[in-house]
Amino acid sequence: MAEKFDAIVVGAGPAGNAAAYTLAKAGLNVLQLERGETPGTKNVQGAILYADALERIIPDFREDAPLERHIIEQRMWVLDDKSFIGSNYRSDEFNSEKPNRYTILRAPFDKWFSSKVKEAGGLVICETTVTELLRDESGKVIGVRTDREGGDIYANVVILADGVNSLLATRAGFHDEIAPKNVALAVKEIHFLPQEVVESRFNVKGDEGVVIEIFGSVTHGMVGTAFLYTNRESITLGIGCMVSDFKKAGIAPYTLLEELKAHPAIAPLIEGGEMKEYAAHLIPEGGYKAIPQMYGDGWMLVGDSAGLVNAAHREGSNLAMTSGRLAAETVIALHNEGMPCTAAHLARYKTAMDESFVMKDLHKYRQLPDTLHNNPQFFSVYPQLLNRAAHTMLTVDGEDKHSKERAIRKSFVQRRSLWGLMGDAFRMWRATR
């Protein structure tokens, strides 16, 4: 193919779609390649969509994007084997005209986002896997090779939005293979229920929704969390833990999911539902310290392929969209100034990222992955202690409350020692400050 594009975007997830849409809208000649049958057929998420990141790209997305429910209530549950202790935050303020968070299903959502790229004038080709990056003698990336016949295509810049398993970036030597301690494996199922049942079970109406973030004994002490999200007529339920922990623990991921489904706190919420899909996906959770070089001569990394996930707040797609947009804006500026996409010029992308919430947030939590990795008690001992404490205080059995408090305090000190408790509090504070 003789044609040369201003930019090639690999991948049609949130990062790739944000980049391709921004480029196409600015009038650049952009080609987007996606290996799925249609955009979204390869993609998995929880999924919460954070409106702000998308709104900066498509301000009126609420008009036709396939959104499930807007979230009015968030629950945080800490599970023990038989019980849970939790907190709720519910607010009618979330019923505003422009809600801030929605649940979505990735397959229809990505398809919709991709249709916007086409409307803006981008060329989107699916069912095409990019197998290699093409480079000139100096090593500058000048295009891609695909698994189609005669599939070499050229461009001024290649934006890799190919997700967590960025084979292209690793093979090109842009970064090392991801380490098992920097990545979580999540498995999830979707259970369909009549809309009225979802609404009565979660005490919502219309398109209001509830999300539950879960941790505790269900991860068998591994660093990880579970989640339950309400969709319009279905419930998404999943659990994820660090790959290094799976290796150590020797537990199958679907065993965790089955145990979660059977937990007395969860089982009634999905009862009667019909399971219609089982999915698995990795999440790059290494945080700030694991972020590779994000640009070079003729190439840029955006979204999960650059490891941009804030595990502490379960944010990823919004970081993906923001990085995709900022990468595109960098390319547009260079294009308009008539400057080539060399590493020196693409460095502007990194500067823009550093000034955005993406790098600031990831920097704030830079110690968290190590802290959690080195202190498994946060996922094993504490959930048990908290649940037992609640049980002790709430059981009325003739014992005075003062003695109960003393017993609870003793149970904490016995399990962690006074220094241990203070150390844990300090470590947690330092890791998130």
Binding site: R35, G36, V44, L167, A179, P253, Y254, E277, Y278, A279
Partner: protein, 95 residues
């Protein structure tokens, strides 16, 4: 025991017959050098199974394309991992 097949049965696939996208690079490493064989329990689709002779067998038909097997084999790098040809493999309906 959980029947993983029942879960995978709900999924939509377009299998690329006769062209597995993942391969064990050197089967003798699995049987002689690798003690953990983490792929046999960590793969969410149970594509890997331990054989009676101490090796590991791979069937990629139910593969969810997550990448875990490649990453978890971090000592031996014995998994030749690629994406299926465009349009093939798992096709998520909901994701």
């Amino acid at each position: 025991m959980i029947k993983i097949e029942e879960k995978l049965f709900q999924n939509r696939y377009k299998v690329d017959e006769g062209r597995p996208h993942i391969q064990i690079a050197n089967p003798s490493v699995c049987s002689s050098t690798c003690e953990v064989q983490a792929c046999t329990f960590a793969c969410p689709a149970a594509c890997y199974s331990a054989t009676e002779t101490g090796g590991v067998e791979l069937n990629t038909d139910g593969c969810l394309e997550c990448g875990t097997c490649r990453i978890i084999c971090s000592e031996h790098h014995n998994v030749d991992w690629a994406y299926p040809r465009g349009g093939h493999g798992i096709l998520f309906k909901f994701g």
